[in-house]
């Protein structure tokens, strides 16, 4: 019995190592990679359609070519024109994903200065009660002291990029100096009761992959890699798909085209009225691009749009590395992982066969029926031992099939818990790779007899230590 619990303890210690530590980051990498695969191929089933409330307004080369003769950065008056046109459609909120870093030119001898019109338009927004969020840095603050007078709500729009694969997977609630990020601030401002507690855990953005009917007009660069190719080779190549979030080009906002004025109004209202509009850019040579978990390249504004979509879709139950609720704590998370492994460890210990011991067909079996007598005696006292003997005999008859069944059962067990972790505990990537490592390395170590060797040497050391302790008082006894 001691040996049984020693075995369980060793397996649990090994599980703790594989599940909570990532040697050379490999386990972590594998988890993220599997998370991306899950997002890419199960995204449409898990996530569904995009939020109706969000529209991305995209400044493209064509609009810049027409209205600014291709100059970049565009004048502040141009941004004013775009925002004023948008104001006619009465959006619910606007996020400006531009860093207004260029200095405003000095005022000419007569007439207004570039940017005065923008301030005028932002004042109109304030009068209309429409909040405007602006990507903010200290340089923007220095350029635009006027904006701090309640014209815009500053937000930090820094990207969080994975240093290994450059994927923009994580979206923090706040950035430097505690400034909130656009998605978190907009979600909290527009839905005040959304978060019972202030969110602190960085979100792992889950990318929607369902087709958006409103984006049918857009063209995509096709990506040929299918599920089978990905299964065999992994992700290969990147693509620029039709985006998940509803999109409108600045070109079409400024030059609205339809059969009649009424139709123009109708279409504009469907895209912008009472919507949260995220105004960003996709310009050649301005690499404000992100690499998404689904291996797509998209303009940076879509990361904010998708994060906001996640927040409106899942609310406080957005997906993150530690999840929400009780598990949103590193220590609870570690304990939870061990609890998932515990039944597996118990079963492994129960069915473990020490080479040459207790094996029905092993060397001890033939010794005067000793091997057969022990389990028979145990079976009267304890049912699992009899069950164990019968299962061993079954495995001996069907070696390959038996092992396959065990592997499949374990994989199913961990897959089920992976799903529970994702859907119930909101953990973005279950520790799938950790479980796989536990299974494969565990089997390997067991195969080479490492676990038994460890237990034997552990027992031997304990026995020696006990012996030394027992002998120690005798040395100090006076000789008779």
């Amino acid at each position: 019995m001691k040996r049984f619990w020693a075995y369980v303890l060793l397996i649990m210690a090994f599980a703790h190592l594989t599940l909570n530590y990532s040697p050379l980051g490999l386990s972590n990498r594998a988890d993220k990679y599997l998370q991306d695969l899950f997002n890419t191929y199960a995204g449409s089933m898990v996530y569904g359609a995009p939020q109706e409330d969000i529209t991305v307004l995209l400044l493209t080369d064509e609009a810049l070519e027409t209205h600014q003769r291709g100059h970049w950065p565009a004048s502040y008056d141009f941004h004013g024109k775009v925002l004023n046109t948008l104001l006619h459609e009465k959006p619910r909120a606007v996020f400006i994903d531009f860093l207004w870093l260029s200095r405003r030119p000095e005022a000419p001898t007569h007439g207004p200065r570039d940017g005065d019109y923008l301030i005028k338009v932002l004042q109109r927004y304030r009068s209309a009660g429409i909040p405007v969020y602006l990507a903010w840095t200290p340089a923007v603050k220095q350029n635009w002291p006027e904006l701090e007078q309640g014209l815009v709500r500053p937000v930090g729009a820094e990207l969080d990029i994975d240093p290994v694969d450059f994927v923009s997977r994580t979206y923090p609630p706040t950035v430097d100096a505690g400034m909130q990020t656009p998605a978190f601030r907009i979600a909290q401002d527009l839905r005040p009761g959304l978060f019972p507690q202030k969110p602190t855990e960085p979100m792992d953005v889950f990318w929607g992959t369902s087709p958006n009917e409103k984006n049918k007009w857009m063209k995509a660069k096709k990506h040929e890699t299918g599920l089978v190719d990905t299964a065999l080779d992994g992700f290969s190549g990147v693509k620029t798909p039709v985006p998940f979030n509803t999109t409108l080009y600045v070109r079409d906002l400024l030059h609205q085209v339809a059969e009649t004025r009424e139709k123009v109004r109708e279409q504009a209202a469907a895209l912008m009225k009472d919507k949260i509009v995220l105004y960003g850019a996709n310009l050649t040579g301005v690499n404000d691009l992100i690499f998404t978990p689904t291996r797509d390249i998209l303009p940076g504004v879509y990361l904010h749009a998708m994060a906001l979509d996640n927040l409106l879709h899942w609310g406080p139950e957005y997906k993150s590395a530690l999840g929400s609720g009780l598990l949103a704590n590193k220590w609870w998370h570690a304990l939870w992982n061990l609890l998932i492994v515990l039944p597996v460890a118990l079963l492994l210990a129960l069915f473990h066969r020490r080479p040459g011991h207790d094996t029905p067909g092993g060397p001890e079996a033939g010794k005067a029926g000793e091997g057969a007598a022990k389990p028979a005696r145990r079976s009267r006292l304890n049912l699992p031992w009899a069950w164990r003997t019968r299962t061993w005999a079954l495995f001996d008859r069907h070696r390959v099939l038996g092992k396959l069944c065990i592997m499949l059962a374990l994989a199913c067990w961990f897959a089920v818990w992976g799903a529970v972790e994702f859907f119930y505990f909101n953990i973005s990537a279950g520790t799938v790779a950790g479980y796989l490592a536990f299974l494969t390395l565990g089997f390997f170590l067991d195969k080479i007899g490492m676990v038994d060797w460890l237990i034997d040497s552990m027992f031997m050391r304990i026995r020696n230590a006990c012996g030394r302790l027992a002998r120690a008082p005798r040395r100090h006894q006076p000789r008779a």
Partner: protein, 120 residues
């Protein structure tokens, strides 16, 4: 040769007349529903903001001199200005035969944007 030049000149004159007649028919009849003032911009390529005129100071209809992409050129108090199409109600005909590029430009280029044009 001389005759051909004359013919070409005549055709040009007719085309110019037709164009000006068409533009003369275009009018701004009112400000957009929620606007109380009209924003005026420079008709030059930079499109810089010049001033805003209160609705009470405007007399409708205002003739449109030129129908541009997303706006109109008008004459007010003897000066030409550009106004945004969305700020006004006009009798312009909508063209639905636009052939635009609807793809993204997400090629990662090893150069930054130039000072004008499409850069690189």
């Amino acid at each position: 040769m001389k005759r051909d030049i004359k013919r070409f000149g005549l055709a040009l004159a007719i085309a110019a007349l037709c164009h000006s007649a068409a533009a003369a028919d275009l009018k701004i009849s009112a400000l957009a529903a929620d606007s109380t003032e009209l924003d005026l911009f420079s008709p030059a390529a930079d499109g810089a903001y010049i001033k805003s005129v209160d609705q009470s100071a405007l007399k409708f209809p205002i003739a449109i001199l030129e129908d541009r992409n997303g706006g109109f050129v008008v004459r007010l108090e003897g000066k030409k200005y550009y106004v945004n199409a969305s700020d006004v109600v006009a009798n312009n005909a909508y063209d639905v035969t636009a052939g635009c590029d609807n793809t993204f430009a997400t090629e990662l280029v090893g150069a930054t944007r130039g000072i004008a044009g499409k850069g690189c």
